[in-house]
Symmetry: C2
Subunit: 138 residues, 2 copies
DNA sequence: CTTAATGCAAAGGCTTTGCAGAGAC
DNA sequence: GTCTCTGCAAAGCCTTTGCATTAAG
């Protein structure tokens, strides 16, 4: 499903995270937030360039890295081969199909993680990832 | 810390998982289980070849993959760049330092994950990974 | 002798980097 | 004019693969 997400929305989001909203960054942001689902860098690259726009691979990688670093999106490490980028930054978890490499969301509403130990001194928590890995029975 | 872990222990472990215990496989198994900590394939490769033994990179990768597939060790996907292999297959979770890439264990004894949704039909659970990501304050 | 495992080197996929050119203010 | 961003291509890193060689029973 494609949620309405305008250039103005993207610009606002970028500003909110202290990122200079250039043409390419806005395009990349829109691709992610319109669809609202995590994708790999390569997916973003392909989609951005689908409708004749031109954004280089380097810019896609750099921008995704920047967005993640600034907290506008979230990196999801679940696949041994590639990183997913998730526009959903609210607490939620992931279901990972080891057969297909497909990643889907689990709402965090009902999920509770308790009993975690305290962090090392001077450390700031970046997030708690819960990844449920499954495989289709053959 | 290096726990006593003999060739015979390694052979027994391999047998238990239906793996033919060849010289190289025993060496690799010992490296992991003596130290008892997760390491990347490259670490294993370096250690195995440290004391003049000769095991090729391909064999290290193949063996680690085989051990993981057979359930003798566990793959940990926490670093965007490389896969860790963990000789500890009992339930436990991980603390990941985004700055250094260092991975440490969290006992699962006190950790509880509740409220997970049911799996898709015909799926078998491979595991639930909890990864606590932190970063040193600068 | 037959089957399985190993080693080497090359290839592959994802990501990062260096640097020149283009764009923004 | 200065500073930032972009694009291209090359390089980097981890991992896999193909195939000939070697070991095992």
């Amino acid at each position: 499903m494609v949620t309405p997400y305008t250039d103005a929305d993207a610009v606002a989001l970028l500003h909110r995270h202290g990122i200079n909203p250039t043409t390419q960054r806005v395009m990349i942001t829109r691709v992610l937030f319109e669809r609202g689902v995590h994708m790999a860098a390569d997916d973003v690259f392909r989609i951005v360039n689908a409708d004749d726009n031109q954004v280089s691979k380097a810019t896609v990688y750099n921008t995704l890295g920047l967005l993640a670093e600034k907290g506008a999106i979230r990196q999801v490490i679940a696949d041994p081969v590639k990183v997913f980028y998730d526009p959903n930054t609210s607490p939620h978890h992931h279901l990972y199909d080891e057969g297909t490499g497909e990643l889907t969301d689990i709402d965090a509403i009902d999920v509770n993680v308790t009993g975690l130990p305290p962090l090392p001194l001077g450390a700031s928590l970046q997030g708690v990832d819960v990844i449920v890995r499954f495989r289709q029975k053959k």
